[in-house]
């Protein structure tokens, strides 16, 4: 039997905007197993980002229960949530969020700074390993403004995996990239998935969702569809076809 890494029951999230209550999430039930590669789909405002924020321990639900890696998250005080984010979770954002005037290596090292009892040498070698995984070994000491968008996102992914998290969240990771670079980034995720990392991608593009194993679709704060993807595309293959087509054109 597979272990449920994420187990969500009757989860709701309500925002108050003045007198109006906005029900961003309405009694969500969801479980995700270790090693899955899931995409959460939906129009903007459908609640998918709100769910990701709660799953990623950036935000707390209004009611309902959330268990991550056998820890009941709703009982945990704010400061300990920081430790959970630090040790169990990796984030990739749409606009990268790299620190400017800070080298790729130092950016990747950042989460390790907030972990106790790591020596400088260990930190650096862990950061180097993470950058190697995303094929950025050549650019350890480049600053974000010296890197292309795709390269910046690779650095951001390296930062997300440097702590060996149990789960990786990506919020519209290809939103700021052109289609070819998007495929390269998706390829990075697929490679990471092959290594056994659980990945959840939030996206509004159906094409991106086609590269994942399972597609959960949101609308108006409710899950309206949750299906297995039977014909998972390989980003690597699509990339090969693309360069092939280009060659023939020439």
């Amino acid at each position: 039997m597979l272990i449920n890494l994420i187990e969500v029951k009757d989860l709701t999230k309500t925002y108050k905007m003045g007198d109006i209550e906005v029900h961003a999430l309405q009694s969500i039930n969801l479980s995700i197993q270790k090693g899955e590669f899931v995409s959460i789909m939906g129009m903007s405002g459908s609640g998918k980002t709100t769910l990701m924020n709660i799953l990623g321990c950036l935000d707390k639900p209004t009611s309902g229960s959330y268990r991550l890696d056998n820890v009941m998250i709703e009982d945990i005080p704010k400061d300990d949530l920081a430790d959970i984010r630090n040790q169990k979770i990796g984030f990739v954002f749409q606009s990268f969020y790299l620190l400017s005037r800070t080298s790729a290596l130092e950016n990747v090292e950042l989460p390790l700074l907030y972990r106790k009892s790591l020596k400088r040498k260990e930190r650096i070698s862990m950061a180097e390993d993470a950058l190697k995984t995303v094929q950025m070994s050549e650019r350890l000491h480049h600053y974000p403004n010296q890197l292309s968008g795709g390269q910046q996102q690779r650095v951001a992914i390296a930062r997300a995996i440097v702590n060996n998290p149990v789960i990786l969240f990506a919020d519209e990771p290809t939103g700021n990239l052109d289609s070819r670079t998007s495929l390269e980034i998706i390829n990075v995720f697929q490679e990471l998935h092959k290594k056994g990392i659980t990945i959840i991608i939030v996206t509004h593009e159906p094409e991106i969702a086609q590269f994942t194993e399972r597609i959960v679709t949101f609308s108006d704060g409710k899950i309206i569809n949750d299906v297995k993807n039977h014909k998972i595309e390989s980003a690597m293959e699509v990339l090969k076809q693309l360069s092939h087509a280009k060659k023939e054109e020439n």
Binding site: D59, D79, A82, R85, T102
Partner: protein
């Protein structure tokens, strides 16, 4: 997170944003520098006044007659003749605490040496006058008590007078005339420079008072003032009072108003008041610049934290706790204000010295001005570094991350 790591993070973030760091420090540097400079100049002025007063003599009390109330035109003070020569002896032997005492009889007259003229006021004094006024001879000697008793025709010149009459030197031993009476120069005084009010302390001619009274008096009644030097500064008020009582006892027809008894403590107090006022004025200007500097620090700190809200959000998303963020910003503020304060102290001292050199004015950098300005700017820097950081750390993480 270890303290050392936070320190490194704080330092790195300062080094990475050199312009911002420099701008923030500038407020502190200028504030601290201004306070140091202003207070150093003010303190220097005080010292200058004190030194000036010391050159005029030690613990000097001047006793003079008030202007004569019987004449139709009220005359300048000291022109009355309530004081008699015998009062000098009385004070000398009956008032305790008198160190030196000398009568001073003034006469206007023209000095003539060959073809050169010098019109000046000559003081008739005894030999103790030199000690009262802290005079020293650069050439020759003071006149002796024998010369005073006999009313010898001798004089001691100040340097300005001697240099004018005898530009080639060799004044001592020369014979010149004053009011057509031939007098021999026995000494030239050492240079004293300018007085506090700009008068030339070296434009002075001293003659035995006996000589003045006997031969150089002119048509007016002799007006005698008495210069006394007290044994110590502390007893000056007592000595003044005793002198006044003695004079009143000796001449029952006169009242307290007939005499003016002044001392340099009065002058010194007045001068001290003046320089304290100057220091206060400069301090308030410095205080204002410190406050302006503080507002500058506050501004930049606020702006820099606001523009770094995203960074704070990211740090918290990857595992920074609230206290990690707070500590980082407080360390940054401490670095900024500490380093800025030190640079400000150095800069302020240098500027004070340069100003002092340009104005030929000794400046005094006091410890308390350093401590005051440094701690003030440190408090401002740390507070305005901590306050916005706390605000940012208290923000909802999502809001911080999405902050535009």
């Amino acid at each position: 997170m270890l303290l050392f790591e936070i320190l490194t993070v704080a330092l790195k973030s300062l080094v990475k944003n050199k312009v911002r760091t420099l701008l923030t420090m500038l407020g502190i540097i200028i504030g601290v520098g201004a306070v140091i400079t202003m207070l150093a100049i003010g303190e220097g002025a005080k010292k200058l006044v004190e030194a000036e007063i010391a050159t005029m003599g030690t613990n000097v009390i001047t006793v003079s007659s008030n202007s004569n109330p019987r004449t139709a035109v009220r005359q300048e003070s000291g022109t009355g003749n309530a004081i008699k020569l015998t009062d000098v002896e009385s004070i000398k032997y009956q008032v305790q605490g008198v160190n030196y005492i000398s009568p001073v009889v003034t006469t206007y007259g023209r000095l003539r040496a060959g073809s050169k003229n010098w019109r000046t006021m000559a003081y008739g004094v005894n030999s103790e006058y030199f000690f009262i006024r802290n005079y020293d001879v650069s050439d020759g000697q003071f006149f002796s008590s024998t010369q005073i008793q006999s009313g010898a025709k001798v004089m001691v010149l100040g340097k300005t007078v001697a240099d004018y009459l005898f530009p080639d030197g060799g004044a001592v031993g020369q014979r010149i005339t004053i009011r057509n009476v031939p007098v021999e120069i026995v000494g030239v005084l050492a240079e004293k420079g300018q007085s506090a009010v700009g008068g030339d302390l070296d434009d002075v001619v001293l003659i035995p008072y006996t000589t003045v009274l006997a031969r150089l008096r002119g048509w007016r009644e002799p007006q005698i003032t008495i210069n006394v030097s007290a044994i110590s500064k502390d007893i000056i008020p007592i000595v003044k009072e005793e002198i006044l009582q003695l004079l009143l006892l000796k001449n029952k027809t006169l009242t307290e108003d007939s005499f003016i008894v002044n001392s340099q403590t009065d002058l010194a107090n007045m001068a001290n008041n003046v320089s304290s006022t100057i220091t206060l004025l400069l301090s308030s200007i410095a205080g204002i610049s410190l406050i302006v500097g503080g507002i500058g620090i506050m501004n930049i700190m606020l702006v820099s934290v606001t523009e770094r809200i995203k960074e704070i959000g990211l740090r918290m998303a990857v595992g920074a706790k609230k206290r990690d963020v707070l500590r980082q910003f407080i360390f940054e503020a401490i670095f900024l204000s500490g380093l800025g304060g030190i640079i400000g102290i150095v800069l302020g001292s240098v500027v004070a010295k340069v100003v002092g050199n340009m104005m030929n004015w000794s400046v005094v950098i006091t410890t308390w001005s350093v401590l005051l300005s440094f701690s003030f700017s440190a408090i401002i820097g740390i507070f305005f570094g901590w306050y916005p950081a706390r605000k940012a750390a208290n923000l909802n993480l999502i809001d911080a991350l999405r902050y535009e």
